[in-house]
């Protein structure tokens, strides 16, 4: 648990989109899925997930509907909309560029004089 990384601001949305892109999920499911695909490396405050989900629904990136979970409990399931899919592609590309740039910058060795 202790070696989990704090989430950068703004990245939670991206993670949610990614998690949901693999198939419709309910909130807790999304949490588990993020844990699974990030190999438990990220620390997410569980409750913080929900305002983010509501925001994404409001922006039209996700759509939600009530259904029944594997545990036979009522739960709200989320899936990507077309707009959400597009946004995921864009954000992924942008993230890749940023990550590459930062990685490159950090990899720079001090020049020998």
């Amino acid at each position: 648990m202790t070696d989990q990384a704090q989430l950068l601001p703004g990245t939670l949305d991206l993670l949610i989109l990614k998690a949901v892109s693999l198939g419709p999920l309910h909130g807790y499911g999304i949490l588990l899925r993020i844990g699974q695909i990030s190999q438990q490396a990220l620390l997410i405050e569980q409750g913080a997930l929900y305002p983010a989900l509501f925001r994404l629904v409001r922006q039209g990136l996700l759509k939600a509907s009530w259904g029944t979970s594997d545990n036979n409990r009522r739960a709200k399931f989320y899936e990507l909309t077309a707009l959400g899919r597009k946004r995921l592609r864009e954000e992924t590309k942008q993230w890749d560029r940023l990550a590459a740039a930062i990685a490159c910058a950090l990899a720079a060795e001090p020049e020998e004089a």
Binding site: H26, G27, L31, Q46, G47, Y50, P51, F54, S69
Partner: protein, 885 residues
Amino acid sequence: MKLFSYLRSLALRLFRRSQTENDIEEELRSHIQHRAEDLERSGLDPAEAERRARIEFGGRQRFQEECRDVQVGNSIETLAKDVRFSLRVLRKTPGFTLVAVLTLALGIGANAVVFAALNGFILHPLDLPRPESLYSVHRVTDNSSNQSYPDYLDLRDRNRSFEDLAAYNILQAGLDTGDKPTSSWLLAVSGNYFDVLGVKPFLGSFFHRFDERGPNSAPYIILSHAFWHSRFHGDSGVVGRTVQVNKHPFTILGVAPPGFRGTLLFFSPDFFMPMVNQEQLEGESILQARANRWIFMIMGHLKAGVTPQQAAADFDSLSADLEKAFPKEHGHWTYALARPSLYGEFLGGPMRAFLSALMLLAGLILLAACANLGSLFAARAADRSREVALRLALGATRLRVLRQLFTEALLISLMGGALGLWGGVMLLDSLRAWNPFPQFPFYLPVTPDAKVYGVAVLLTLASGFLFGAVPVRQVLHTNPYEIIKAGSTGRVGRRITLRDLLLVTQIAICALLVTSSIVAVRGLGRSLYGDFGFEPRNAILMNTNLDMADYRGDAVPAMQKRMIEAMATIPGVTSVGLVDWPPLTTGDIPGANVYKDETTDLRPTNSVAPSLILRISPDYLSTAHSALLAGRNITWHDDKDTPNVALVNQAFARRIFGAESRAIGQYFKRRDGTRIQVVGIVEDGKYENLTEGPKPVMFLSFLQSPSSQMSLVVRSNADPQHLAGAIRNKLHELDAGLPFRVQPWSQAMKLVLFPSQAATVALGVLGVMAAMLSITGIFGIAAHSVSKRMRELGIRMALGAQRKEVLQAALGRAFKLLSFGSAAGLLLGILATRVLSFIVYQATPRDPLVLAGSVLAMFLLGLLATWIPAQRALSANPLELLREE
């Protein structure tokens, strides 16, 4: 089942909020339960698992609230928050708030009032069933709707277009309810009148077509609701009572419903009576006279499927038949259908044009007000750019900031709208209660109904969004980091902006209105002191109709002679004259066709010209100060026993005889064949209204052509108040049962002056409003440009710039806009006065005083608006300014 689904939707609506609340709650609970089950599976006991799941989840309450905020972004709470914040902001700048609210109140109030007038006069004039198929029949040929009784009966029974045709005439009569007889206005109507219009009695019953069984067979009257209240104090026992109308007994049958005032706007009669009883009112029966077109208007509902054009064609062919059957009484006439409420196109055309123009102006004023407020808001948004930037930097979305600005705009517009509407309704109330003409039952149909309120609310919201939208682009392009770094001085714009364009338009409208109102005021001034061919000042009129006391035949001129003699004995009276219709006191003086002496076939088409007829006493001309240009005056010897003579005016002489010099001694004929010799020529004047051209008029001796309608013109050097009392006493001595009215001639002219007065007042009010708006507009732009450039001005001064140069730098732009807008407005104003000259006497655009006045007004306005900013610019102290930054 239906009821159930209705209840459900009602419940849903009521519990909607808690539904979303429940939704969120359930979702969060579901999450915690899922987690707890997972924890349980990993070996924890249920209670511990539940506890851990809760802890891991974090502050449930907080997340739930955050979710709700996201979910119901536009909810009442956010709105309330915005409103509270806006109110706080507005309270902090009371000056700005006051100016903005007042500006808008003026704009919206003006629009509400003008729209109420438009609504009352044009859009929704008559509160009657099926108003869309109600039409009146008008002759196109002589632009009138008058008919004779026999013609009315023929048209009613033979037309194939109307369900039924009703007729009415406006009359004045003495009504005696037991105490003092008073003069009342009434409508003499056909028996089917109320049935044709579909009006139901408020009390008692109405008369019907089957009540008419020949002349004087229906001695009934119906009271109007207002008259029933004022004269009979709303006593429901009046039904069945007998009253005296012109000394003949009439039975009160019933009371008309509250909103019903006949079908002529402006006019509110006291009671209604059947026109078959006309003889009892007027002394002689004219029910059989086909040539006497005394009925004011005929009207009815068109049959289903008949268009007004088809109906007009129907009447054209009926008229052709009547012309063949009665060639002496009929001309070749064509017909058109119109709305009865404004006397067809006669009043309807100018009214519609004038009110539409007013509405347009009011709309432009509101637009100008919005432009102003938009500029003010934009300027404020610029001044507040630091605050906006800070909020953006702190994470507020641009949407949220914009919404807050819109809330402010809407709050101001709502306050302004409410204030404006309140003022407008007050104004309308006083307009309705207002009667500028004591001799005429005048009524302005300007009731604020749902439509008026709806339009006001719509305009309020629309203007709020309109001026609220001006700073949107500004906010959207705000870059928080730049502004916080650099401060808000920013750059000075040089290019022409939308704001400049709006301001120029606004100044142009203002200049247009200022020019128009100066033209109107000038015209009004001229019309009060103009040359009418008589002198209304210092002359008192005593108006009455001897029919009201049942004088007949020779008794009429005899009584009139006694009255003249009695007046002449009042101390201080210098002269007394008699005339049946004093010029410029009624819009409609009776006239007749004039024929050349050699014409023998006296059908209307053979006449030379129509002429107005005034019956006068020998002293009338000298009393009215009308000049006799040639020939001799009428004398006391021109009576029944001597040949008929007439004085004519210059227009008459020119039209009938070709030249003024040829007229004296010549004869002309009237339709009944009477030959009349012209003995004198009177100067031209104004008779029916101020904007009319020269009209032929003949003056007949009241002894040769008696008329029970009469006015005495009394000129004296005594105090008018005292004189009026003396006149009353004298008349009372002569006949205590005769109703009459005493008033100064100039006051009696109010009816004729009313259109130009109303136009002047309306234009004046709009002009003042436009001026106020322009002042705030120019002030806003000048003040803004000065405050933005204070530092620059300070540097200029430090470098030795003169006052003139500083002013030019600070206010040059505002002045450029002002002069450009003024020039455009003046040009428009000059064009518009052509339209005005139809309403206002001698409204000419080429009046140097008007042009000078307009230019001066606009200059003063500019001076006033830029005074404070200029002072501020001049007071720029370079040292202080530079230190400040």
